[in-house]
Subunit: 136 residues, 2 copies
Amino acid sequence: MDTIGFHYIVEAAGCRPEVIGDPERMREILLAGAKVGKMEIRTSYFYRFTPTGVSGVVIVAESHITIHTWPEYRYVALDVYVCGTSSFPEEAIDYILKELGCTYAHVSEIKRGIRDEDVYTHTILTWDEDLKLTQV
Amino acid sequence: MDTIGFHYIVEAAGCRPEVIGDPERMREILLAGAKVGKMEIRTSYFYRFTPTGVSGVVIVAESHITIHTWPEYRYVALDVYVCGTSSFPEEAIDYILKELGCTYAHVSEIKRGIRDEDVYTHTILTWDEDLKLTQV
């Protein structure tokens, strides 16, 4: 299998505290996001921090989605990493951020597993997304 | 809880195929690495791809460790993401890479959850490590 993968590192601000503080709601959103992105779900694990916050992972055949949330700051750290070209990670991220009520995202897309003779490197592209106008 | 986290994105080359192709061996190494890094283990999940390769995640209280392996290329994509200051992620990574027999690593350290007024960003520092001399 090709080593190339696309890993999106997302800092999401302005998220709805009641959503990002609920592990079951977060599981529903990430599983639905994986489906939107045409990923093949293997397993998922979510749990609630004390006193607030959720950590979760969805393992997909293409690699993984992880999330860590800080409801008190309306902040979420989201990762989506996929190998191969059969899935649509950006569609998954757009769906997840919309469901979280995210208003602003700082994103780095890391292209991983780039072969350079006998070693591997990655390249990084970073951008910001102002999502306020798309939220209701 | 503070939003700041340190996320290490590692492309590891030259790894031992018989190690990185074995899901149970990978589980042992990542769990031991989490302990070396003083992380609090919550759960782990590892599985073998067809025909080769392993995907795995260790969820720790501090965030997560994930791995995806390509034995046919001696290549591993490793992530270690920790929040707080109680753990030692670089020690965990050094242990894991040594156990994998990695000879060369391309690493980006992403400082995540940096507050800038009402949004969050990250910064990235990238380097290479030639580990040939430390392997036996």
